[in-house]
């Protein structure tokens, strides 16, 4: 199949993404969306935040515009800028402006990574004004009533300098995500990768072992995403221990001793 080209505001999630609710997050998101409240997703990497957003976009039948924030992301990257085209300057909307106009869900991933000046445009959008100031055009853009702002943030590993400010976080409805409990996680892993339940259980056990090591030489334990990766390898015929090493151990650390210890753990388990 040829790759399709889509403009951001026409990117609809067409088939239902697989998502298992851990708590009340779907109900809360629904209620927040109905009341036009912005949403903050907290939680470690790979625990299902992005998948949840895809699921909600499908459920609400809105286009999903995702922006992964990085430390060079400025307000203009979100709002838009003038470009030069054939000797003329032309205004081009940024992803946030597109979402505001089209009534899409705009998901800013890892919001704390973005530069501080982005807050200037996020704040008026995130409270009851729901307007986007476009400074360079001298305009205020009122948000489409179907527009929804969601941001994510990982309280775990960022430095103190990159903490989310109270003035920002107090504008959002916060949903906390964590790795699902063992039973649910095994179900998710097995469903996503197609391995049998017993293998999934073992893999989840291994993930718990790595999570026990958090703070003892590991910055972060294995995420659900990594488990799915490992299980996909296993489903494709790679042996369990090798899959754990390639998909999980090597992904979370470079430290030789830690790798060896994780090898010992996985070879004990299978």
């Amino acid at each position: 199949m040829d790759a399709r080209t889509l403009s951001p505001e026409t990117y609809f999630v067409e088939s239902q993404p697989y998502y298992e609710a851990v708590g009340q997050e779907i109900t809360i998101f629904d209620a927040a969306y109905a009341n036009r409240l912005p949403i903050l997703l907290k939680g470690p990497t790979g625990c299902g935040k992005t998948r949840f957003m895809e699921y909600m976009a499908w459920r609400l039948q809105r286009p999903l515009i995702t922006v992964s924030c990085h430390d060079d992301l400025t307000a203009s990257d979100l709002v838009g800028r003038y470009l030069v085209r054939g000797g003329e300057t032309v205004w081009v909307d940024g992803p946030l402006t597109r979402a505001v106009r089209a009534g899409a869900i705009c998901y800013l991933d890892e919001i704390v990574e973005a530069r501080k000046d982005t807050m200037v445009v996020i704040h008026p959008l995130a409270d009851d004004r729901r307007v986007l100031p476009i400074e360079k055009l001298g305009q205020l853009l009122e948000a489409n009533e179907k527009f929804c702002l969601a941001v994510s943030y990982n309280p775990g590993y960022q430095s103190v300098l990159k903490d989310l400010k109270q003035s920002t976080r107090q504008r959002f409805i916060a949903l906390e995500f964590d790795y699902p409990n063992a039973d649910l996680e095994a179900r998710i892993v097995s469903k996503e990768s197609g391995v049998d339940r017993a293998t999934a259980d073992q893999l989840v056990k291994f993930a718990h072992m790595t999570r026990n090591l958090k703070g003892n030489g590991l910055e972060e334990g294995a995420s659900t995403r990594l488990l799915v990766h490992a299980c996909k390898l296993i489903a494709a015929g790679v042996s369990s221990v090798v899959a754990c090493q390639a998909a999980i151990a090597q992904a979370v650390t470079d430290d030789a001793e830690m790798l060896k210890a994780m090898y010992e753990l996985s070879s004990s388990l299978f």
């Binding site: 203009s76 030069v84 063992a182 056990k205 026990n212 090591l213 003892n216 010992e264 004990s268 299978f270």
Partner: protein, 702 residues
Amino acid sequence: MQTTPFSVAEFIAILEDLLEVEFTFHKVEELAQAYERFSATEQHYFLGWIRRIATTNVEVAWRFAHRAPKAWAHMDERLLDAWAVHAMDAYDRKGLRAAFKVIDEVDQFARLSHAEAVGAVFGEIAGVLLTFVRGLSGRPLKLTEGDASYTDSETLFLPPVIAEMVTAEDNFALAKAQVALLWAQTRFGTFRHDLDELIAKFSDQERALRCFHALETIRLECCLARELPGLYREMLRLRETLGQSRGSAWLPFEERLVHAIGIEDTIQLLPKAYVTEMPPRLCYEGELRVAAIRETLAKRQAREKMLLRIKLRELIDKAQEQPDEGCAGEKHFEVRTIGDNESLEMELLLDGQPIVPPDDMRQMMTSIVLDFGGIPPDYLFPAGDGEYDPRLLVGSLKDPDEVWQGVYHEDGAFLYPEWDHQRQHYRKNWAVVREKTVTPAPIGFVEETLAHHAGLLKHLRRAFEAMRDDNRLLKRQEDGDNIDIDALVEALTDVRAGHEMTDRLFTRMQRTERNMATLFMVDMSGSTRGWINTAEREALVLLCDVLEILGDAYAIYGFSGLTRKRCEIFRIKAFDEVYSTQVKERIAGIQPQEYTRMGAAIRHLSQRLLEAEAKTRLLITLSDGKPDDYFDGYRGPYGLEDTRKALQEAMRAGIHPFCITIDREAHEYLPHLYGAAHYIVIDNVKQLPLKIADIYRRLTVR
């Protein structure tokens, strides 16, 4: 090097010198004869060790010299090295008697010699195994070298060398199996029953304990077979390789325990096992030491009960702070286990509502569950007001000065290794470092200094302001926030003139961060008394002033000490402290103390520096001379080599060390310590305040 061996007479002379026969009156003639048969290389090797050990203790060296020739018959270099180092470690830690014991029991060391090359040496496997055991669930366990494989329920002990198997891989596997089995004891409730009480019923208690241990091992094997099947297969393989089995008399027990649920099943079988023939100890079985367990258990359970109840109280207090919660009446805690019997996942309920306990509390709950199989109801009553002394909570935060008022102990201090260049090995936990603060002095000194150097300061401030990284507007970029009008006009003219149009038409705001942390390590030794001390303080005042302009993260610590047992680090400004009046008073209060044991100071402050978040880390030492300490041999090459080693450790960790000194002879030793370009000598003390800020600027400028 000499190619012919020493004659007996020559050897006597050397030994007399090394073993200080003049004072110790050891007879070396016989000893020298024992070495006559060795080649020159071998003689040198032995003499090297005797010399190295003699720098630690002459008596130990003498014993070593005595034993070594015989031991050599069944040892090779690696094992003999390990033996000698082990003996010196024992001396460092426990004294002469312990060192003699190691030397005298050389046979025990040698016993392992057939597999010496393949033995799993504790120091080499501890790191991996500790991580391994931490990864398994449950209480965070510690791993230490001991005389056998056993646990006290908090620490796992392993022997120095495990060498029962033929290959290195198998020996490591055996060590891993031992660790896993000890872990299983803590994880699956071996200690949930009072073992003293249990074996008291039998006439031969030792036999009862042994049988209990054997039964428990069977039960735990079954647990491991379920939890860690890979490891269990490995254990069976090891047993098979060694041809070990429990014998047919124990088969019924093995069958009975396959589906065992808990320790009760083991206890039930004990009377029957007691009258059965005792099984051999399996290779991974280790020992069960009731006394060690009893003591640790009692201490931990009292502590955890107290802490948990205090934490519950804190949770209630926090819940009541939230106004909408409504603090209605009695608070009742409950714990619900999720999953099956042995699951450690649990939920804490307050009045029926689940609440999320903080991490440390969750860990404590896990530990309690391991001990009791659940959380006993009386643990779930929140502590009442004043029921426990809050001081009991802060065990480790003792006043560092208090230590010296009572009996000597090393509580609450930081322990660092020290490099013994003669031994060519670290002395473990050798330097005892404590962190203290400086007694503040009136702030007048700071103001006087600022006034005195007003002219210089103005100049410095300007220089530092220029270094500050403000946002820079980059022009003619391919991509950016705004259009660069100049570039656009030019580009359009180009197009009209028929040239190609450039795509560099934008401006972009470039924000650069210095992202640098610097720790100043100030010599507070007695030799700085007078002018040097004043110059140091003045220098710090000026430095702080301009660093505040620059906004770089910085910290200032002083160091001094007397012997290895008392290395003192004086906190003047930590990284997270602001340049406040208190800091100024502390700078004013810097007073010369005693000696300079630099290695320990560098190691400790490197740790502090590594905790600071920055891309570049700089450790700047202000010093007035060589490392030096009182009496215990730190002066001279020992101190220099230790300092050099400490600096190498720091560099490996990504720290850039630099030294500013006023010692004119520094050219002789500083290149050896810091490298040729990483130090600067200031001829005139009075220039220190004038120069230091400038040096910092040159060091950190891009």
